[in-house]
């Protein structure tokens, strides 16, 4: 080795040592960093890794069913047969669809919608091809699955209302969650795509019971969001089934009887308050709302002057007309301003100051006592009696019989009605109460307003011997041991007089609803007709001769009202029927109410006979 080589060698050894040292230092930095990441901050990164891979999926609970009093379904969950397509499993999406079209009709629009979705979505996510298939078609596709690569049959659930429009208002319907719904609660279910909540009726009022509780499934997903496996699962808690007091058959009968008229009918058990029917017509098919109603159908509903979207028995407020006369009679009897046998002469007119009030019977009724006045619905009698007893006492009696009150019936939009007082008029209208106002109130006109439900409650309380029965829609478990409702403290004798009047309405040949009587001894009924004026009859009109209802345009015709109960020997059912613009109560409402009561009692009798047979067997 030469000298210069020696120098080079020494220099080199020194430098190479420095290079090696540098490598060691840098490698130590790597080790330090590894230690920091994997030992010092391990927990933090472990958490982040789990956040990456674990995704929480909500499991929707099954919605509770809505049943009638005998457990027959009014709202249930139906299997919805669907066909999905998973693009990554199809060799050729178009080819698969062409094959599928042999079993399910597919339009050009379906094709373009599906192909668009296939392009947009990740290829392992299902694309909806067809929904709401019938079982036969669905089964057909299932059998042919080997020829349909990528096609995935799927069974979901949708809400189904088997009774369609007959229960539309009462049961309501479900719909998609809206922005405003989201603000109402923290339930994560609300944000689940496709989740439906109650939008009307029982579905809305008892949403908290029907909905149930979400379950969840922890799944491992990859970076694209594809589910790899399920890690753990907590099943959802199905919603509570709701059993109503409603009798499906009665409701169907009532709704069917009213059909296309703008009307309401309520049937109630006068002892325990069970509402057996709460019908409102015309209606709509709640199943349409489920799947999203078309604009055309919606417009039809909104523009129909018979107001199919309104739940008339609880929301509709009407002057009760002559059905209010029982209240006036009781108020007067209890106050002692009129006696049972006292007769008041009706010549068809009643004079108060310089204003004349007319009886519906222009030629007058002659001498009337209380029972006759109810039976023949003499207006003049009640003009006079109302004047004597005064609005305040009438008002108190009305309230005792359940008018002017909300019952909290778990249906939306329950109206309060209106039982006016002197103070009320001054406060709301700024005008003093007039004598004429009392006269009008005496025949249930003027300011008095009641809902058909309230009229049914009133009738029930009249029929059950003056007990404060309260209507109820939810069937309790302790039905039979329910204590009878509290007494209202009305003299039983006075009540008997009013009931006699109501009996005579139906069963006395001069009664206003004699034609609607039931002859069967065991099913005789009592009732009261009412006709409520939609508009005040002007003096000019009266002079030129009052037009009959049939001559007026529909919208100006009177509302027909009837309240009644039966059977007479041991009353059990109260009914109220209101037909908007149905003309007189005797012709427009009494026959309907009669048929409903007859149906109810007939059904009752059959049920008892069957029960008897079972006992004997």
């Amino acid at each position: 080795m030469t000298f210069s080589d020696e120098v080079k060698y020494k220099t080199y050894t020194r430098r190479a040592t420095i290079v090696a040292g540098g490598m060691m230092v840098l490698s130590s930095a790597l080790v330090g960093r590894m230690y920091y990441l994997q030992v010092v901050s391990r927990d933090q990164y472990e958490l982040l890794a789990d956040e990456n891979r674990i995704s929480l999926r909500l499991l929707a609970p099954e919605r509770g069913k809505i049943l009638d009093r005998y457990g027959r379904p009014l709202a249930l969950n139906r299997s919805d047969y669907r066909i999905n397509l998973i693009p990554e499993q199809a060799d050729d999406v178009r080819q698969t669809l062409n094959t599928l079209a042999r079993y399910i009709p597919l339009t050009e629009r379906d094709y373009s919608r599906i192909l668009k979705a296939v392009k947009r979505q990740r290829s392992f996510l299902p694309v909806a091809v067809a929904e709401n298939l019938d079982w036969e078609t669905f089964a057909n596709v299932n059998i042919n699955i080997p020829d349909l690569p990528g096609i995935q049959p799927d069974v979901g659930t949708t809400r189904y209302y088997p009774e369609k429009e007959n229960f539309a208002h009462l049961v309501g319907y479900v719909g998609s969650v809206s922005e405003t719904d989201l603000g109402q609660g923290e339930d994560p279910l609300l944000e689940l795509p496709g989740f439906k909540i109650g939008k009307n009726g029982i579905e809305r009022e008892l949403e908290h019971l029907l909905r149930g509780q979400a379950g969840n499934s922890r799944v491992e997903v990859n970076a694209l969001g594809r589910v790899i496996r399920e890690l753990s699962r907590q099943d959802s808690q199905p919603g509570t089934d709701i059993r109503l007091t409603i009798d499906r058959d009665i409701q169907n009968f009532a709704a069917g009887r009213l059909r296309d008229q703008s009307a309401a009918a309520v049937v109630m058990d006068i002892h325990n308050g069970d509402v057996l029917a709460l019908a409102s017509t015309p209606a709509f098919d709640p199943n349409d709302f489920n799947l999203g109603i078309s604009q055309k159908k919606w417009n039809e509903l909104v523009n129909d002057q018979r107001k199919p979207l309104i739940n008339k028995p609880v929301t509709g407020q009407y002057p009760p007309g002559s059905t209010f006369k029982m209240i006036v009679a009781l108020a007067a009897l209890e106050d002692g301003v009129v006696r049972e046998e006292e007769k008041i002469f009706c010549n068809g007119k009643y004079q108060l100051g310089n204003h004349t009030f007319h009886c519906w019977r222009r030629q007058g009724h002659g001498h009337m006592n209380l029972v006759d006045a109810i039976a023949r619905s003499c207006d003049v009698y009640f003009f006079d009696v109302a004047r004597r007893v005064g609005i305040e006492k009438i008002r108190r009696m009305a309230l005792r019989f359940g008018l002017g009150e909300r019952y909290g019936l778990t249906v939306p939009g329950e109206a309060r009605g209106l039982i006016p007082s002197e103070g009320w008029k001054l406060a709301t209208q700024g005008v003093r109460w007039q004598g004429g106002d009392t006269v009008n109130a005496g025949i249930g006109q003027g300011y008095v307003l009641a809902t058909p439900l309230q009229l049914a409650v009133m009738t029930a309380r009249l029929a059950n011997g003056g007990r404060a029965v309260v209507p109820r829609l939810l069937s309790g478990a302790k039905d039979d041991i329910l204590a009878p409702a509290e007494k209202l403290g009305v003299s039983p004798y006075h009540l008997k007089l009013v009931q006699k009047g109501m009996e005579d309405v139906m069963n006395d040949p001069r009664g206003t609803a004699f034609r609607s009587r039931i002859r069967d001894k065991n099913m005789m009924i009592a009732g009261k007709t009412g006709t409520s004026q939609v508009r005040r009859i002007s003096k000019a009109e009266r002079e030129s001769g009052i037009r009959k209802n049939e001559e007026k345009p529909w919208i100006e015709r009177d509302h027909a009202i009837f309240v009644g109960y039966g059977p007479l020997d041991h009353p059990r059912y109260a009914v109220s029927v209101l037909v908007e613009h149905g003309g007189g109560g005797a012709s427009g409402a009494a026959p309907v109410a009669r048929d409903i009561l007859e149906f109810v009692m007939q059904q009752d009798r059959e049920r008892k006979q069957e029960l008897g047979k079972e006992r004997r067997a």
Partner: protein, 382 residues
């Protein structure tokens, strides 16, 4: 053999003798490192030899053969070929510049019909050969002179210029740092180095304006990965999560959630070390690091024990190249350096880097086998 005659040597030895002088322990370490890589490629493919592990194995077999051939060729032939090979790779770089194959936004490959050649990988080796030869031939009295630095700096600058234009920041860094390391070991004055580093700082700022937007993005993302967690920062965030969640012993082979569920990007190439760290933890990472350090230690010891300057610089240059690959890659996946796209040699899927490192190790072995071969200062032509 006239070419070789000027060297003072004992002439050629029989081939079997050379073979017996191959350090088979080091070959075993190389096989082990590659084995780790193949095991990881099998894991990230979801437990399959396709599409990566099988191909990698075939490439390794070819590369290993090449390594052994290079080791056995007389070192004087390599000295003779140093400049021609350097200029050949420079010419290839120019051809790439003119009509290269573009992939993933960069022009790095030459399509030769049967394979894609990446001349910049070739350059890493031939630059070191050329520099080693240059300093070997430099008269000792010229070592300290500045003018003797002009030629080696030019040798480094020319390829660096073409590679940075491709653009390939990672390879440019590897070429430049590898070359400078040889300069340093050859005895370039220390203060020049210090001065060089000081001038580098403003130069780095100047270079900023030449970077492509995505390169700037990488640097910014490196400085603050959270600034774009779904875009450019995603890689490094996911890689750190995989690392950290691996812990001391890892999640188990084929159990790495980050890599198996595809949260980790580029897991078969640049980020393969992360897969190791996730599935085998700190213990696994340190084991692989140790295997690399064995190779590096061997190369440096070889370079310190040989007699000719050419051999020393060649072995050291190769060691530095291997180290740079390994360091940049591992530091990058742990978030210590910006993501510059440097693979982990012998482990990452891909042929070019594996070939480069195996060829480099072949030269180290060649140096070891010919440690007593004398090479004249005048070089083969003198």
């Amino acid at each position: 053999m006239t070419i070789l005659s000027p060297g003072h040597n004992r002439g050629s030895r029989p081939l079997f003798q050379k073979i017996s002088e191959i350090n088979w322990l080091i070959v075993l370490v190389v096989v082990m490192i590659t084995g780790v890589g193949i095991a990881l490629l099998y894991s990230v493919a979801g437990g399959s030899f396709d599409p990566w592990a099988k191909k990698q194995l075939i490439r390794f077999a070819l590369g290993l053969g090449m390594m052994l051939v290079i080791a056995l060729v007389d070192i004087r032939i390599w000295m003779f070929l140093a400049y021609p090979l350097y200029f050949l790779s420079l010419a290839l770089l120019v051809i790439v510049e003119i009509k290269g194959h573009t992939g993933m936004g960069a022009t790095r490959w030459l399509n030769l019909g049967f394979m894609n050649l990446q001349p910049s990988e070739f350059m890493k080796i031939t630059l070191i050969l050329a520099l080693a030869r240059y300093f070997h031939c430099l008269p000792p009295e010229d070592t300290g002179r500045y003018k003797s630095l002009i030629w080696p700096l030019l040798l480094i600058a020319m390829p660096a210029f073409f590679v940075v234009r491709q653009p390939d920041l990672g390879t440019t860094l590897l070429i430049a740092f590898g070359g400078i390391a040889v300069l340093f070991a050859a005895g370039m004055r220390m203060w020049l180095f210090v001065a060089g580093i000081i001038t580098m700082i403003p130069a780095a700022f100047g270079a900023w304006s030449f970077l492509k937007p995505y390169q700037k993005e990488r640097v910014l993302t490196f400085l603050d990965p959270e600034r774009d967690p779904l875009g450019a920062g995603y890689h490094i965030i996911q890689s750190k999560i995989a690392f950290g969640s691996g812990g001391l012993y890892g999640k188990g082979y084929m159990q790495g959630t980050q890599s198996q569920l595809n949260f980790l990007p580029e897991k078969q190439t640049d980020f393969i070390f992360t897969v190791l760290a996730e599935e085998f933890g700190l213990v696994g990472g340190l084991t692989l690091l140790l295997l690399y350090l064995v190779l590096l230690g061997y190369a440096i010891l070889v370079s310190m024990s040989v007699r000719s300057h050419f051999s020393r610089l060649l072995a050291l240059g190769m060691a530095v190249t291997l180290f740079l690959y390994m360091f940049i890659n591992i530091a990058m996946v742990m978030g210590l350096l910006p993501v510059v796209g440097v693979p982990l040699p012998l482990v990452s899927y891909g042929g070019s880097a594996m070939l480069t490192v195996l060829v480099g190790l072949g030269f180290v072995m060649c140096v070891a086998i010919h440690k007593n071969t004398m090479i004249s200062r005048g070089g083969a032509f003198a």
